[in-house]
Amino acid sequence: MEVGPTCHYMMGGIRVDAETTQSTILGLFAAGEAAAGLHGSNRLGGNSLSDLLVFGRRAGLFAAEYAKRASPASIDSVQIEQAEKELLAPFSSTGAESPYAIHRDLQEVMQNLVGIYRTKEDLQRALVELEKLKALAAKAGVEGSRLFNPGWHLSYDLRAMFIVSEAVTHSALARTESRARTAASTIRISTQSGKRNTTSLSGNPAP
């Protein structure tokens, strides 16, 4: 029997307001493992269940309240078309690597370089490796049809996995070296002095 450390719970997640569980995106609510901040840096066994009961209830209550008050969202057909194009791109990628192979490589990078014991060198190497894998993932190809196709689903999930992997790595770098400065690249680390949580913001941060 193999015995070893493994990742089985994500302490990080979407930053939400504790009372309403709403994120900084209006109408987006998160609770449980998807949300961050409740468990600190180590969740105690069993606490995620009470987390679900308490904050799942809040999420439901406030999402319902929000839905009652919100006006129907406007749909941007250009965005929809763009999203559709991105989703279907793996089908037209020929001879590219399987999303599963990229997934395995990603697991290896994160396990070996961003594991329990971290060094600055490893973390920086991880960022380089992640960039390489992201480039591969952008060209990942899938076979088969759109009907219940796990390889296709994984090619989409990989994008989220890279976001999380980068956030974890950048946060780890920020914690050991400097807790209150902005890291280069599209991921910006902001920490408030005296607070324990690290927040990563992707994209172009507001000035």
Partner: protein, 232 residues
């Protein structure tokens, strides 16, 4: 490393055939691991549902060597390795793709069970006792997992009158499967496959030791349709 051949159904609701895959066998490996190996290395579009990997949820049910099993609890070393291991979708549910079937029937029944838990019991008493309600729900969820056997819901009237109502729901098995009488030994083998084969700590409390309360169901067809390489 030892290798095994998995003969897996590939296809959709209309057409399909079995395809052989060679898979390395590691100690402690279960059939679901082998399916994931196929997905990861040989056929990324292989459709297979799974969730808990711990014999609880029933998602990974499939017919392994002709018997309904939870693939996460079916060890490769239990199966003869000198011949292909057949893995086919549950025949009591309509096929969607490969090993994935349409289990919406489960959700419809689940909803009815939850509704019946809220309603007064048939003996006129309401389920005011939280304990009774919890036990009823537990039995219901166990029965849900036992779909692997495609049996009707357990005869748990002794425990819960609300479940008696649940057990009267029509099983999809009775619609989809030619009704072939099953011998008692065959039934007990299947029963142990889905319930007793799990380690003692994961056997649901209300299932343990009272398999005689389960009703036998006519879903265990003896017809060896899976021996055909093409399934229509």
């Amino acid at each position: 490393m030892a290798e095994a051949t998995l003969r897996v159904f590939r296809g959709d609701s209309n057409n399909g055939k079995t395809i052989d895959y060679r898979v390395p066998v590691a100690p402690g490996m279960v059939v679901l691991d082998a399916l994931h190996y196929i997905q990861g290395y040989l056929a990324p579009d292989l459709a297979v549902r799974w969730n808990c990997k711990a014999g609880k949820c029933g998602s990974c049910s499939a017919e392994v060597n002709g018997r309904p099993r939870l693939t996460c609890k079916t060890r490769m070393d239990e199966l003869p390795q000198d011949q292909p291991i057949t893995v086919l979708p549950m025949k009591s549910f309509p096929r969607i793709k490969d090993l994935v079937t349409d289990v919406s029937w489960n959700y419809r029944v689940n909803r009815k069970i939850l509704l019946s838990l809220r309603a007064p019991a048939s003996n006129g008493r309401s389920h005011s006792s939280t304990w009774t309600a919890c036990r009823s729900f537990e039995s219901a969820s166990n029965a849900f997992s036992a779909r692997t056997c495609a049996m009707s819901f357990a005869n748990t009237t002794r425990r819960s009158s609300s479940l008696a109502r649940a057990s009267s729901f029509e099983s999809p098995a009775s619609k989809c499967i030619p009704s072939t009488p099953t011998t008692a030994p065959a039934f007990s083998r299947i029963s142990s496959a889905s319930v007793s084969a799990t380690s003692p700590n994961v056997v649901p409390r209300s299932v343990r030791g009272d398999s005689h309360h389960r009703q036998r169901h006519s879903s265990l067809s003896k017809s060896a349709w899976w021996t055909n390489s093409t399934i229509r």
